[in-house]
Protein backbone atom coordinates (compact mmCIF):
# COMPACT_ATOMS: atom_id res chain seq x y z
CA UNK A 1 0.00 0.00 0.00
CA UNK A 2 2.65 2.44 -0.97
CA UNK A 3 0.40 4.90 -2.75
CA UNK A 4 -2.55 5.91 -0.60
CA UNK A 5 -5.34 8.10 -1.96
CA UNK A 6 -6.25 11.42 -0.40
CA UNK A 7 -5.82 15.08 -1.20
CA UNK A 8 -5.00 17.17 1.84
CA UNK A 9 -5.65 20.91 1.91
CA UNK A 10 -4.18 23.84 3.77
CA UNK A 11 -6.60 25.99 5.73
CA UNK A 12 -6.46 28.79 3.17
CA UNK A 13 -7.10 26.29 0.37
CA UNK A 14 -10.11 24.80 2.10
CA UNK A 15 -11.73 28.12 2.81
CA UNK A 16 -11.26 29.31 -0.76
CA UNK A 17 -12.76 26.20 -2.36
CA UNK A 18 -15.41 26.83 -4.97
CA UNK A 19 -18.67 25.31 -3.82
CA UNK A 20 -17.79 25.48 -0.12
CA UNK A 21 -21.05 25.71 1.76
CA UNK A 22 -21.66 26.85 5.28
CA UNK A 23 -24.50 25.58 7.42
CA UNK A 24 -25.52 25.51 11.05
CA UNK A 25 -27.75 23.04 12.82
CA UNK A 26 -30.63 24.49 14.77
CA UNK A 27 -30.56 21.96 17.53
CA UNK A 28 -32.30 22.89 20.75
CA UNK A 29 -33.28 20.41 23.44
CA UNK A 30 -34.99 20.63 26.79
CA UNK A 31 -33.57 17.90 28.95
CA UNK A 32 -35.78 16.59 31.73
CA UNK A 33 -33.68 15.94 34.79
CA UNK A 34 -36.13 13.39 36.12
CA UNK A 35 -37.17 13.02 39.77
CA UNK A 36 -33.80 11.96 41.15
CA UNK A 37 -31.48 14.51 39.59
CA UNK A 38 -34.11 17.21 40.17
CA UNK A 39 -34.08 16.50 43.89
CA UNK A 40 -30.28 16.54 43.90
CA UNK A 41 -30.25 19.97 42.22
CA UNK A 42 -32.84 21.31 44.65
CA UNK A 43 -30.62 20.02 47.43
CA UNK A 44 -27.71 22.02 46.00
CA UNK A 45 -29.91 25.11 46.07
CA UNK A 46 -30.35 24.57 49.79
CA UNK A 47 -26.66 24.08 50.32
CA UNK A 48 -26.87 20.32 50.75
CA UNK A 49 -25.30 17.40 48.88
CA UNK A 50 -27.76 14.54 48.63
CA UNK A 51 -26.92 10.97 47.78
CA UNK A 52 -29.22 8.03 47.08
CA UNK A 53 -28.77 4.52 48.36
CA UNK A 54 -29.18 1.16 46.65
CA UNK A 55 -31.29 -1.16 48.81
CA UNK A 56 -29.44 -4.22 47.53
CA UNK A 57 -25.73 -3.41 47.63
CA UNK A 58 -25.92 -0.45 50.01
CA UNK A 59 -23.83 1.91 47.85
CA UNK A 60 -24.64 5.58 48.34
CA UNK A 61 -24.40 7.30 44.97
CA UNK A 62 -23.26 10.86 44.51
CA UNK A 63 -24.43 12.18 42.14
CA UNK A 64 -27.60 10.22 42.83
CA UNK A 65 -29.31 8.17 40.17
CA UNK A 66 -32.78 6.60 39.99
CA UNK A 67 -31.22 3.18 39.66
CA UNK A 68 -28.17 1.32 40.88
CA UNK A 69 -26.21 0.42 37.77
CA UNK A 70 -24.49 -2.48 39.54
CA UNK A 71 -27.67 -4.22 40.74
CA UNK A 72 -30.22 -2.85 38.26
CA UNK A 73 -32.73 -2.00 40.95
CA UNK A 74 -34.32 1.31 41.84
CA UNK A 75 -32.43 3.29 44.47
CA UNK A 76 -34.51 4.12 47.50
CA UNK A 77 -33.21 6.06 50.47
CA UNK A 78 -32.02 9.65 50.29
CA UNK A 79 -28.99 10.49 52.43
CA UNK A 80 -27.40 13.86 53.09
CA UNK A 81 -23.66 13.37 52.69
CA UNK A 82 -20.66 15.25 54.09
CA UNK A 83 -19.44 18.21 52.05
CA UNK A 84 -15.79 17.33 52.52
CA UNK A 85 -13.54 14.99 50.66
CA UNK A 86 -10.11 14.51 49.15
CA UNK A 87 -8.84 15.41 45.71
CA UNK A 88 -8.61 12.30 43.54
CA UNK A 89 -7.03 14.15 40.63
CA UNK A 90 -6.67 17.74 39.46
CA UNK A 91 -5.34 19.58 36.43
CA UNK A 92 -4.63 23.15 35.37
CA UNK A 93 -6.37 24.31 32.24
CA UNK A 94 -5.00 27.12 30.05
CA UNK A 95 -7.64 26.72 27.34
CA UNK A 96 -11.39 27.17 27.18
CA UNK A 97 -13.99 24.77 25.80
CA UNK A 98 -13.63 26.66 22.51
CA UNK A 99 -9.87 26.06 22.41
CA UNK A 100 -9.02 29.69 23.22
CA UNK A 101 -6.35 30.76 25.72
CA UNK A 102 -7.80 31.57 29.12
CA UNK A 103 -6.82 34.80 30.90
CA UNK A 104 -6.39 32.99 34.19
CA UNK A 105 -5.62 29.28 34.38
CA UNK A 106 -8.42 27.19 35.87
CA UNK A 107 -7.94 24.23 38.18
CA UNK A 108 -10.51 21.45 37.78
CA UNK A 109 -10.61 17.97 39.18
CA UNK A 110 -12.43 15.15 40.85
CA UNK A 111 -13.19 15.22 44.56
CA UNK A 112 -13.80 11.95 46.33
CA UNK A 113 -16.38 12.81 48.97
CA UNK A 114 -16.38 11.41 52.51
CA UNK A 115 -19.43 9.29 51.78
CA UNK A 116 -19.65 6.23 54.03
CA UNK A 117 -19.73 2.72 52.65
CA UNK A 118 -16.74 2.82 50.31
CA UNK A 119 -13.42 1.26 51.29
CA UNK A 120 -10.26 3.34 51.03
CA UNK A 121 -8.64 1.74 48.01
CA UNK A 122 -11.91 0.77 46.33
CA UNK A 123 -12.15 1.31 42.58
CA UNK A 124 -15.52 3.03 42.92
CA UNK A 125 -16.37 5.98 45.10
CA UNK A 126 -18.88 8.79 45.43
CA UNK A 127 -17.56 12.05 44.11
CA UNK A 128 -18.03 15.13 42.00
CA UNK A 129 -16.25 16.77 39.09
CA UNK A 130 -15.85 20.49 39.62
CA UNK A 131 -13.55 23.48 39.83
CA UNK A 132 -10.99 23.49 42.60
CA UNK A 133 -9.88 26.76 44.13
CA UNK A 134 -6.23 26.09 44.86
CA UNK A 135 -2.89 27.36 43.65
CA UNK A 136 -2.09 25.69 40.29
CA UNK A 137 1.45 25.03 41.54
CA UNK A 138 0.10 22.46 43.98
CA UNK A 139 -1.27 20.44 41.09
CA UNK A 140 2.13 20.30 39.44
CA UNK A 141 4.02 19.33 42.58
CA UNK A 142 1.45 16.67 43.41
CA UNK A 143 0.54 18.11 46.79
CA UNK A 144 -2.99 18.60 45.53
CA UNK A 145 -3.60 14.87 45.19
CA UNK A 146 -5.05 13.64 48.44
CA UNK A 147 -5.58 17.17 49.79
CA UNK A 148 -8.64 17.65 52.01
CA UNK A 149 -11.19 20.01 50.52
CA UNK A 150 -14.71 21.22 51.20
CA UNK A 151 -17.48 22.81 49.18
CA UNK A 152 -17.53 26.56 48.71
CA UNK A 153 -21.11 27.51 47.94
CA UNK A 154 -22.30 30.42 45.86
CA UNK A 155 -24.23 32.98 47.93
CA UNK A 156 -27.76 31.72 48.62
CA UNK A 157 -29.42 34.33 46.37
CA UNK A 158 -27.31 33.24 43.41
CA UNK A 159 -28.13 29.54 43.61
CA UNK A 160 -30.37 28.28 40.82
CA UNK A 161 -30.63 24.51 41.47
CA UNK A 162 -27.72 23.83 39.18
CA UNK A 163 -24.35 22.11 39.52
CA UNK A 164 -22.91 25.62 39.43
CA UNK A 165 -24.49 26.39 42.82
CA UNK A 166 -21.20 24.99 44.02
CA UNK A 167 -18.62 27.68 43.37
CA UNK A 168 -15.69 25.30 43.76
CA UNK A 169 -13.95 23.03 46.22
CA UNK A 170 -11.46 24.74 48.50
CA UNK A 171 -8.87 23.46 51.00
CA UNK A 172 -10.08 22.72 54.49
CA UNK A 173 -8.25 24.98 56.85
Amino acid sequence: MEEVPGIGLKSSEMYSLIGLLEDRPKARYDFSAGPTVSKFLLGLKEGKILGKKCPRCGRIFVPPRSYCEWCHVATSEWVEVPQTGIIHTAVVSYISAKRQRLEKPEVVGIVRLDVPGYRDKEYEFAGLFHRICIDPKLVVTGEAIGMRVKVRWKPKEERKASILDIECFEPVR
Binding site: E3, G8, H88, I163
Partner: protein, 392 residues
Protein backbone atom coordinates in the same frame (compact mmCIF):
# COMPACT_ATOMS: atom_id res chain seq x y z
CA UNK B 1 -16.07 -25.39 25.82
CA UNK B 2 -16.58 -27.29 22.58
CA UNK B 3 -13.92 -30.00 22.01
CA UNK B 4 -14.70 -30.25 18.29
CA UNK B 5 -12.77 -27.29 16.93
CA UNK B 6 -14.05 -27.80 13.39
CA UNK B 7 -17.68 -27.13 14.32
CA UNK B 8 -17.49 -23.39 13.84
CA UNK B 9 -16.14 -21.56 10.83
CA UNK B 10 -13.32 -19.25 11.68
CA UNK B 11 -13.48 -15.64 10.59
CA UNK B 12 -10.62 -14.10 8.62
CA UNK B 13 -9.51 -10.71 7.40
CA UNK B 14 -8.47 -10.96 3.76
CA UNK B 15 -8.05 -7.37 2.62
CA UNK B 16 -7.43 -3.86 3.87
CA UNK B 17 -7.49 -0.37 2.40
CA UNK B 18 -6.59 3.03 3.80
CA UNK B 19 -6.63 6.66 2.68
CA UNK B 20 -4.13 9.33 3.56
CA UNK B 21 -4.79 10.77 7.01
CA UNK B 22 -5.16 14.49 6.42
CA UNK B 23 -5.88 17.55 8.54
CA UNK B 24 -8.49 18.55 6.02
CA UNK B 25 -9.32 16.52 2.95
CA UNK B 26 -10.68 17.66 -0.36
CA UNK B 27 -12.72 14.46 -0.57
CA UNK B 28 -16.24 14.41 0.81
CA UNK B 29 -17.07 11.84 3.49
CA UNK B 30 -18.65 9.53 0.90
CA UNK B 31 -15.59 9.80 -1.29
CA UNK B 32 -13.25 9.02 1.60
CA UNK B 33 -15.33 5.95 2.40
CA UNK B 34 -15.29 4.88 -1.23
CA UNK B 35 -11.50 5.27 -1.52
CA UNK B 36 -10.88 3.04 1.47
CA UNK B 37 -13.57 0.52 0.54
CA UNK B 38 -12.46 0.09 -3.06
CA UNK B 39 -8.84 -0.31 -1.97
CA UNK B 40 -9.80 -2.98 0.52
CA UNK B 41 -11.86 -4.85 -2.04
CA UNK B 42 -9.05 -4.68 -4.56
CA UNK B 43 -6.52 -6.00 -2.09
CA UNK B 44 -8.86 -8.92 -1.35
CA UNK B 45 -9.45 -9.62 -5.02
CA UNK B 46 -13.18 -8.95 -4.73
CA UNK B 47 -15.71 -6.48 -6.09
CA UNK B 48 -18.70 -4.87 -4.40
CA UNK B 49 -21.00 -7.44 -6.02
CA UNK B 50 -19.27 -10.16 -3.98
CA UNK B 51 -19.96 -8.48 -0.67
CA UNK B 52 -22.93 -9.76 1.35
CA UNK B 53 -23.04 -7.27 4.22
CA UNK B 54 -21.45 -4.02 5.28
CA UNK B 55 -20.72 -2.64 8.74
CA UNK B 56 -19.71 0.99 9.10
CA UNK B 57 -18.63 3.17 11.93
CA UNK B 58 -18.28 6.90 12.23
CA UNK B 59 -18.18 9.01 15.35
CA UNK B 60 -20.12 12.18 16.20
CA UNK B 61 -22.43 13.26 13.40
CA UNK B 62 -21.69 16.82 14.41
CA UNK B 63 -18.24 16.73 12.76
CA UNK B 64 -19.55 16.19 9.24
CA UNK B 65 -22.56 18.36 9.84
CA UNK B 66 -25.05 15.70 8.79
CA UNK B 67 -27.64 13.94 10.94
CA UNK B 68 -27.97 10.20 10.17
CA UNK B 69 -24.32 10.24 9.19
CA UNK B 70 -24.28 6.49 8.69
CA UNK B 71 -27.02 6.79 6.09
CA UNK B 72 -25.21 9.70 4.45
CA UNK B 73 -22.04 7.71 3.76
CA UNK B 74 -23.94 4.48 3.04
CA UNK B 75 -23.47 4.53 -0.72
CA UNK B 76 -19.79 5.41 -0.48
CA UNK B 77 -19.40 2.53 1.95
CA UNK B 78 -20.91 0.04 -0.45
CA UNK B 79 -24.40 0.10 1.02
CA UNK B 80 -26.25 0.01 -2.26
CA UNK B 81 -29.08 -2.46 -1.81
CA UNK B 82 -27.06 -4.26 0.81
CA UNK B 83 -27.57 -5.02 4.49
CA UNK B 84 -25.65 -2.23 6.18
CA UNK B 85 -25.68 -0.91 9.73
CA UNK B 86 -23.62 1.62 11.61
CA UNK B 87 -22.20 0.80 15.03
CA UNK B 88 -21.03 3.38 17.48
CA UNK B 89 -19.11 3.31 20.72
CA UNK B 90 -17.45 6.69 20.49
CA UNK B 91 -13.72 6.40 19.97
CA UNK B 92 -13.91 2.66 20.56
CA UNK B 93 -15.77 2.29 17.29
CA UNK B 94 -12.62 1.66 15.26
CA UNK B 95 -11.88 -1.72 16.81
CA UNK B 96 -15.55 -2.45 17.42
CA UNK B 97 -16.50 -2.41 13.71
CA UNK B 98 -14.47 -5.54 12.96
CA UNK B 99 -15.83 -7.02 16.22
CA UNK B 100 -19.34 -6.55 14.81
CA UNK B 101 -18.17 -7.81 11.42
CA UNK B 102 -17.08 -10.94 13.24
CA UNK B 103 -20.60 -11.96 14.20
CA UNK B 104 -21.95 -11.08 10.77
CA UNK B 105 -19.74 -13.90 9.48
CA UNK B 106 -19.78 -16.22 12.48
CA UNK B 107 -23.58 -16.27 12.52
CA UNK B 108 -23.58 -17.69 9.02
CA UNK B 109 -25.74 -14.86 7.72
CA UNK B 110 -23.00 -13.22 5.68
CA UNK B 111 -19.99 -14.84 4.06
CA UNK B 112 -18.15 -11.73 2.92
CA UNK B 113 -18.37 -8.54 4.93
CA UNK B 114 -16.97 -5.11 4.19
CA UNK B 115 -16.00 -3.30 7.37
CA UNK B 116 -15.37 0.42 7.16
CA UNK B 117 -14.49 3.29 9.46
CA UNK B 118 -14.68 6.85 8.19
CA UNK B 119 -14.25 10.22 9.79
CA UNK B 120 -14.19 13.74 8.45
CA UNK B 121 -13.57 16.16 11.28
CA UNK B 122 -12.49 19.21 9.30
CA UNK B 123 -15.93 20.54 8.31
CA UNK B 124 -16.59 21.55 11.92
CA UNK B 125 -15.42 25.12 12.34
CA UNK B 126 -13.93 27.22 13.86
CA UNK B 127 -12.36 24.19 15.46
CA UNK B 128 -13.51 20.56 15.51
CA UNK B 129 -12.60 20.35 19.16
CA UNK B 130 -15.63 22.49 19.94
CA UNK B 131 -17.89 19.58 18.96
CA UNK B 132 -16.68 17.81 22.07
CA UNK B 133 -18.62 20.35 24.08
CA UNK B 134 -21.68 18.16 23.49
CA UNK B 135 -20.40 14.81 24.73
CA UNK B 136 -20.86 15.72 28.37
CA UNK B 137 -23.89 15.13 30.59
CA UNK B 138 -26.15 18.08 29.77
CA UNK B 139 -27.18 18.72 33.37
CA UNK B 140 -24.28 17.82 35.62
CA UNK B 141 -21.24 18.44 33.44
CA UNK B 142 -21.89 20.81 30.52
CA UNK B 143 -22.56 23.88 32.69
CA UNK B 144 -18.90 23.70 33.76
CA UNK B 145 -17.94 24.13 30.08
CA UNK B 146 -15.36 21.38 30.06
CA UNK B 147 -12.83 20.99 27.30
CA UNK B 148 -12.30 17.39 26.18
CA UNK B 149 -8.64 17.56 27.10
CA UNK B 150 -9.58 18.09 30.75
CA UNK B 151 -10.78 14.53 31.21
CA UNK B 152 -7.62 13.09 29.67
CA UNK B 153 -5.44 15.42 31.70
CA UNK B 154 -7.20 14.34 34.88
CA UNK B 155 -6.65 10.71 34.04
CA UNK B 156 -3.01 11.33 33.12
CA UNK B 157 -2.45 13.22 36.37
CA UNK B 158 -3.94 10.36 38.35
CA UNK B 159 -1.81 7.79 36.51
CA UNK B 160 1.31 9.86 37.20
CA UNK B 161 0.43 10.25 40.88
CA UNK B 162 -0.44 6.61 41.44
CA UNK B 163 2.40 5.07 39.42
CA UNK B 164 5.16 7.62 39.91
CA UNK B 165 5.58 8.30 36.19
CA UNK B 166 6.94 11.71 35.15
CA UNK B 167 6.08 13.70 32.05
CA UNK B 168 9.50 12.88 30.55
CA UNK B 169 8.81 9.17 30.83
CA UNK B 170 5.40 9.41 29.22
CA UNK B 171 6.66 11.69 26.44
CA UNK B 172 8.82 8.79 25.23
CA UNK B 173 5.67 7.21 23.81
CA UNK B 174 5.01 10.24 21.65
CA UNK B 175 8.62 10.20 20.49
CA UNK B 176 8.43 6.48 19.67
CA UNK B 177 5.15 6.66 17.78
CA UNK B 178 5.88 9.76 15.76
CA UNK B 179 9.16 8.19 14.72
CA UNK B 180 7.44 4.93 13.78
CA UNK B 181 5.01 6.91 11.67
CA UNK B 182 7.79 8.15 9.40
CA UNK B 183 7.41 4.81 7.61
CA UNK B 184 3.61 4.97 7.23
CA UNK B 185 2.38 6.31 3.87
CA UNK B 186 -0.83 7.70 5.40
CA UNK B 187 0.86 9.52 8.27
CA UNK B 188 -0.22 13.07 9.01
CA UNK B 189 2.43 14.21 11.46
CA UNK B 190 5.34 11.80 11.45
CA UNK B 191 8.47 13.36 12.89
CA UNK B 192 11.77 12.79 14.58
CA UNK B 193 11.21 14.62 17.83
CA UNK B 194 12.78 14.50 21.26
CA UNK B 195 11.35 14.47 24.77
CA UNK B 196 12.35 18.15 25.07
CA UNK B 197 10.24 18.99 22.02
CA UNK B 198 7.23 17.43 23.72
CA UNK B 199 7.83 19.21 27.03
CA UNK B 200 8.38 22.55 25.29
CA UNK B 201 5.30 22.35 23.08
CA UNK B 202 2.27 24.49 23.90
CA UNK B 203 0.93 23.78 27.40
CA UNK B 204 -2.81 23.16 27.12
CA UNK B 205 -4.01 21.57 30.32
CA UNK B 206 -1.22 20.66 32.71
CA UNK B 207 0.08 17.92 32.45
CA UNK B 208 -0.89 17.77 28.76
CA UNK B 209 1.19 19.54 26.12
CA UNK B 210 0.34 19.84 22.44
CA UNK B 211 2.73 17.08 21.33
CA UNK B 212 1.20 14.67 23.85
CA UNK B 213 -1.96 14.63 21.76
CA UNK B 214 -2.98 13.14 18.43
CA UNK B 215 -4.23 15.62 15.83
CA UNK B 216 -7.64 16.33 14.31
CA UNK B 217 -7.75 14.18 11.19
CA UNK B 218 -9.83 13.17 8.18
CA UNK B 219 -9.48 9.65 6.91
CA UNK B 220 -11.06 6.27 6.22
CA UNK B 221 -9.95 2.66 6.57
CA UNK B 222 -11.67 -0.52 5.40
CA UNK B 223 -11.25 -4.26 5.87
CA UNK B 224 -12.77 -7.27 4.19
CA UNK B 225 -13.76 -10.12 6.50
CA UNK B 226 -14.86 -13.54 5.28
CA UNK B 227 -15.63 -17.02 6.49
CA UNK B 228 -12.86 -19.60 6.52
CA UNK B 229 -13.76 -21.38 3.28
CA UNK B 230 -13.90 -18.14 1.33
CA UNK B 231 -10.67 -16.92 2.90
CA UNK B 232 -8.75 -20.01 1.89
CA UNK B 233 -9.87 -19.57 -1.70
CA UNK B 234 -8.82 -15.94 -1.80
CA UNK B 235 -5.44 -16.02 -0.12
CA UNK B 236 -2.72 -18.23 1.30
CA UNK B 237 -2.23 -15.96 4.26
CA UNK B 238 -5.54 -15.07 5.85
CA UNK B 239 -5.39 -13.32 9.19
CA UNK B 240 -7.71 -15.02 11.69
CA UNK B 241 -9.88 -13.18 14.17
CA UNK B 242 -9.38 -15.31 17.27
CA UNK B 243 -11.10 -13.16 19.83
CA UNK B 244 -13.31 -10.12 20.23
CA UNK B 245 -14.08 -8.24 23.39
CA UNK B 246 -15.97 -5.10 24.30
CA UNK B 247 -17.17 -3.49 27.53
CA UNK B 248 -18.85 -0.23 28.42
CA UNK B 249 -18.30 1.28 31.86
CA UNK B 250 -20.80 3.47 33.68
CA UNK B 251 -21.12 7.10 32.64
CA UNK B 252 -19.99 8.49 36.02
CA UNK B 253 -16.25 8.69 35.30
CA UNK B 254 -15.76 10.79 38.41
CA UNK B 255 -16.93 7.92 40.58
CA UNK B 256 -14.06 5.66 39.46
CA UNK B 257 -10.34 5.13 39.97
CA UNK B 258 -8.86 6.56 36.81
CA UNK B 259 -5.36 5.12 36.99
CA UNK B 260 -6.40 1.73 35.61
CA UNK B 261 -8.93 1.06 32.82
CA UNK B 262 -10.82 -1.90 34.24
CA UNK B 263 -13.38 -1.72 31.42
CA UNK B 264 -10.58 -2.38 28.96
CA UNK B 265 -9.32 -5.17 31.16
CA UNK B 266 -12.73 -6.84 31.10
CA UNK B 267 -12.92 -6.50 27.32
CA UNK B 268 -9.41 -7.88 26.96
CA UNK B 269 -10.17 -10.86 29.17
CA UNK B 270 -13.25 -11.57 27.06
CA UNK B 271 -11.18 -11.53 23.87
CA UNK B 272 -8.28 -13.50 25.32
CA UNK B 273 -10.65 -16.13 26.69
CA UNK B 274 -12.19 -16.56 23.26
CA UNK B 275 -8.73 -16.74 21.72
CA UNK B 276 -7.43 -19.17 24.30
CA UNK B 277 -4.67 -16.82 25.46
CA UNK B 278 -3.80 -17.18 29.13
CA UNK B 279 -0.62 -15.09 29.41
CA UNK B 280 -0.94 -12.18 27.03
CA UNK B 281 2.36 -10.62 28.16
CA UNK B 282 4.10 -13.75 26.88
CA UNK B 283 1.87 -14.85 24.00
CA UNK B 284 1.19 -11.58 22.23
CA UNK B 285 3.93 -10.70 19.74
CA UNK B 286 2.82 -7.26 18.61
CA UNK B 287 0.14 -4.86 19.82
CA UNK B 288 -1.60 -1.73 18.69
CA UNK B 289 -2.93 -0.13 21.88
CA UNK B 290 -5.04 2.99 21.36
CA UNK B 291 -2.93 6.12 21.78
CA UNK B 292 -4.93 9.34 21.36
CA UNK B 293 -2.64 10.69 24.11
CA UNK B 294 0.81 9.32 24.89
CA UNK B 295 -0.02 8.23 28.44
CA UNK B 296 -3.09 6.40 27.07
CA UNK B 297 -0.86 3.88 25.33
CA UNK B 298 0.71 2.98 28.67
CA UNK B 299 -2.70 2.92 30.32
CA UNK B 300 -3.99 0.54 27.69
CA UNK B 301 -0.89 -1.66 27.66
CA UNK B 302 -1.60 -2.30 31.32
CA UNK B 303 -5.33 -2.79 30.71
CA UNK B 304 -4.49 -5.33 28.02
CA UNK B 305 -2.27 -7.15 30.53
CA UNK B 306 0.82 -6.72 28.39
CA UNK B 307 2.52 -5.20 31.42
CA UNK B 308 1.63 -5.08 35.10
CA UNK B 309 -0.30 -2.03 36.38
CA UNK B 310 2.06 0.94 36.82
CA UNK B 311 4.92 -0.92 35.07
CA UNK B 312 4.45 0.15 31.45
CA UNK B 313 6.15 3.53 31.84
CA UNK B 314 9.30 1.83 33.12
CA UNK B 315 9.38 -0.58 30.18
CA UNK B 316 9.11 2.24 27.64
CA UNK B 317 12.39 3.64 28.95
CA UNK B 318 14.07 0.31 28.26
CA UNK B 319 12.92 0.22 24.65
CA UNK B 320 10.72 -2.78 25.43
CA UNK B 321 7.93 -1.50 23.17
CA UNK B 322 10.11 -0.36 20.23
CA UNK B 323 9.86 -2.00 16.84
CA UNK B 324 12.96 -3.99 17.63
CA UNK B 325 11.93 -4.58 21.24
CA UNK B 326 10.42 -7.48 23.14
CA UNK B 327 6.80 -6.49 22.55
CA UNK B 328 6.50 -3.83 19.83
CA UNK B 329 3.53 -1.53 20.32
CA UNK B 330 2.09 0.86 17.75
CA UNK B 331 4.58 -0.08 15.02
CA UNK B 332 2.28 1.85 12.67
CA UNK B 333 3.01 5.09 14.45
CA UNK B 334 -0.37 5.01 16.16
CA UNK B 335 -2.75 7.90 16.44
CA UNK B 336 0.06 10.14 17.67
CA UNK B 337 2.01 9.70 14.45
CA UNK B 338 -0.45 8.71 11.77
CA UNK B 339 -3.48 10.67 12.92
CA UNK B 340 -6.77 10.34 14.78
CA UNK B 341 -9.87 10.27 12.60
CA UNK B 342 -11.94 9.12 15.53
CA UNK B 343 -13.73 6.05 14.16
CA UNK B 344 -11.23 5.20 11.44
CA UNK B 345 -8.20 5.28 13.74
CA UNK B 346 -9.00 1.98 15.41
CA UNK B 347 -9.51 0.31 12.03
CA UNK B 348 -6.11 1.69 11.02
CA UNK B 349 -4.61 -0.17 13.96
CA UNK B 350 -6.32 -3.41 13.01
CA UNK B 351 -5.19 -2.95 9.40
CA UNK B 352 -1.63 -2.46 10.64
CA UNK B 353 -1.73 -5.76 12.52
CA UNK B 354 -3.19 -7.39 9.41
CA UNK B 355 -0.19 -6.23 7.41
CA UNK B 356 2.26 -7.12 10.18
CA UNK B 357 0.89 -10.67 10.44
CA UNK B 358 1.29 -11.11 6.72
CA UNK B 359 4.80 -9.62 6.79
CA UNK B 360 3.59 -6.92 4.39
CA UNK B 361 4.31 -3.92 6.59
CA UNK B 362 7.44 -2.95 4.69
CA UNK B 363 9.72 -0.64 6.64
CA UNK B 364 7.34 -0.81 9.60
CA UNK B 365 7.66 -4.59 9.93
CA UNK B 366 8.71 -5.45 13.47
CA UNK B 367 11.97 -7.29 14.00
CA UNK B 368 10.65 -10.42 15.68
CA UNK B 369 8.49 -13.16 14.21
CA UNK B 370 4.80 -12.45 14.73
CA UNK B 371 1.97 -14.89 15.32
CA UNK B 372 -0.50 -13.29 17.73
CA UNK B 373 -1.52 -9.68 17.90
CA UNK B 374 -3.96 -7.53 19.82
CA UNK B 375 -5.45 -4.11 19.10
CA UNK B 376 -7.70 -2.01 21.27
CA UNK B 377 -9.68 1.19 21.03
CA UNK B 378 -11.12 3.39 23.74
CA UNK B 379 -14.16 5.63 23.73
CA UNK B 380 -16.84 7.72 25.43
CA UNK B 381 -16.20 9.20 28.88
CA UNK B 382 -13.48 6.77 29.86
CA UNK B 383 -16.00 4.00 29.23
CA UNK B 384 -15.56 1.95 26.09
CA UNK B 385 -12.95 -0.73 25.76
CA UNK B 386 -12.98 -2.67 22.51
CA UNK B 387 -10.45 -5.38 21.74
CA UNK B 388 -9.61 -7.70 18.88
CA UNK B 389 -7.12 -10.57 18.87
CA UNK B 390 -5.64 -11.70 15.57
CA UNK B 391 -3.30 -14.46 14.48
CA UNK B 392 -1.78 -15.86 11.32
Amino acid sequence: MRPNIFVKDRVAIVGAGITKFMRRSLETPRELAWEAASQALESAGLTLKDIDCVVTGSAPDTFDGVHFKGEYIADGSGGISKPITRVYVGGGTGVFIPDAGFWHVASGLCKKVLVLGEEKMSPAHPHPQYVFKYIWDPILERPLEPNLIWIFAMEMRRYMAKCGAQKEDIALVSVKNKRNALDHPSALIPANITVEDVLNSELLVWPVNLLDISPVTDGAVALVMTSEDVARRLTDTPVWVDGIGFTLENQHWYNRELSFPRYLNYAARMAYKMAGIERPWKEIDVAEPYDPFDYKELHHIEGLMLARPCEAWKLVKEGYFNRDGELPTSPSGGLLGVGNPIAAAGVMKVAELYWQLRYEAGKRQVKKAVHKAVANAWGDLMQAGTVIVLSN
